[in-house]
Symmetry: C2
Subunit: 222 residues, 2 copies
């Protein structure tokens, strides 16, 4: 039987190691001039469809690439490959989140200075990815209208670890009786002042504003 | 910097400890004659609404109670209390899954022999809960039509750890262009022969069959 403190100690060491690697990644991204955006959310929130549209829309004007994390399949990389930009899959096995060293490994052989944007799609999980810095400049937390307005209250840490909230599948908002007021109030209560974007990657609502937001963040970072 | 093998070793010990406690729980449930059903799913799959309807529908003919796991809030327990059956919240803090010892702790003071059904709602997470036996007799994995048909392929372990799949929010199937054939094929490919139920807790579709299924499982266990 193991005593709890030892597990906590080991976890703290893993996180510390991750923070060192994430710091190195952040320096490397900055030096190469690539703006790195990560996406976190629960499974099925529409991350991959949003990312596919994002890559397609940005690739007309910017040099973009993506890393995509998944437990078991390369389905997402296959879907994202339709956007015609470089995409690599990180298969995590039974690990429920991406870690900085997985990102470092997946970048092997890529010349980052040839990119404007690099997107990193985390494993679908609203808990564990919150604790792992990946060296990104911007972390988007994705919340679909079908999940309900209470998710920020139930998973506050992931909302706190993110910079901006993106509400997806807004074409289904009426069918789900989604309350914008409740969602906004819940997000603001766990993360006061958090910027919130609304999109339907399927129908196109809000995508122009979302792409303009990313482009502005890239300009600000230069 | 920690070496990977030590972490793995610690995790194995934690699981072994959990298995011992889960075994004790299972013996205790059997002796008391209570049929224990756990629910696992991603956040926002409709677990809590399904459970609220389940408790209400079963409570006319059976003695039922529920434990509900969440990171941060007691929202779910408050929702489930509307069903007028005994409900206790397990707040896990930053732990992304329930463990057997949390269940043992939450049962303190309850006379299990006065119950027919005990439901345990896990934290919303398609990864980590797969590894933790809670002593339940039946584990339901919940998949909402809004999450997409590919979830079984992307999170195979949780489907393998469960006994039966319940597809929820079927009132939204058309709006989401959900493919029953693809969902069934994906479930069967990771878990051949798995029984699949379909419900809309909101509109009532499939709820009679679902309640009859639970009642039959209780009878079989007696």
């Amino acid at each position: 039987m193991i005593r709890e403190p030892r597990l906590v100690e080991v976890r703290r060491n893993v996180l510390k190691h991750n923070d060192v690697l994430a710091h190195e990644l952040r320096d490397r991204f900055k030096e190469a001039g690539v703006f790195v955006v990560s996406l976190v959310s629960s499974p099925g929130s529409g991350k991959t469809m949003l990312l596919e549209r994002t890559l397609t829309l940005l690739s007309g004007n910017y040099r973009v690439a993506a890393l995509v994390g998944d437990l078991a399949t390369a389905n997402d990389a296959a879907r994202l490959a339709r956007s015609k930009v470089p995409v690599r899959q990180i298969t995590t096995g039974t690990t429920c989140h991406l870690e900085a060293q997985m990102v470092t490994g997946a970048l092997d052989g890529w010349n980052l200075s040839e990119l404007d944007f690099l997107f990193i799609e985390n494993v679908g999980n609203l808990v564990c990815p919150a604790s792992y810095d990946l060296g990104e400049a911007l972390r988007l937390v994705i919340l679909s209208v079908t999940e309900g307005e209470d998710k920020p209250l139930k998973y506050p840490t992931i909302f706190n670890s993110a910079d901006v909230a993106v509400i997806t599948k807004i074409d289904l908002a009426d069918a789900c009786e989604f309350s914008w007021e409740a969602a906004q109030a819940n997000i603001q209560s766990v993360r006061p002042g958090m910027e919130i974007l609304r999109v339907s990657a399927k129908r196109g609502d809000g995508m122009d504003e979302y792409i303009a937001f990313l482009a502005a963040r890239l300009r600000d970072a230069k």
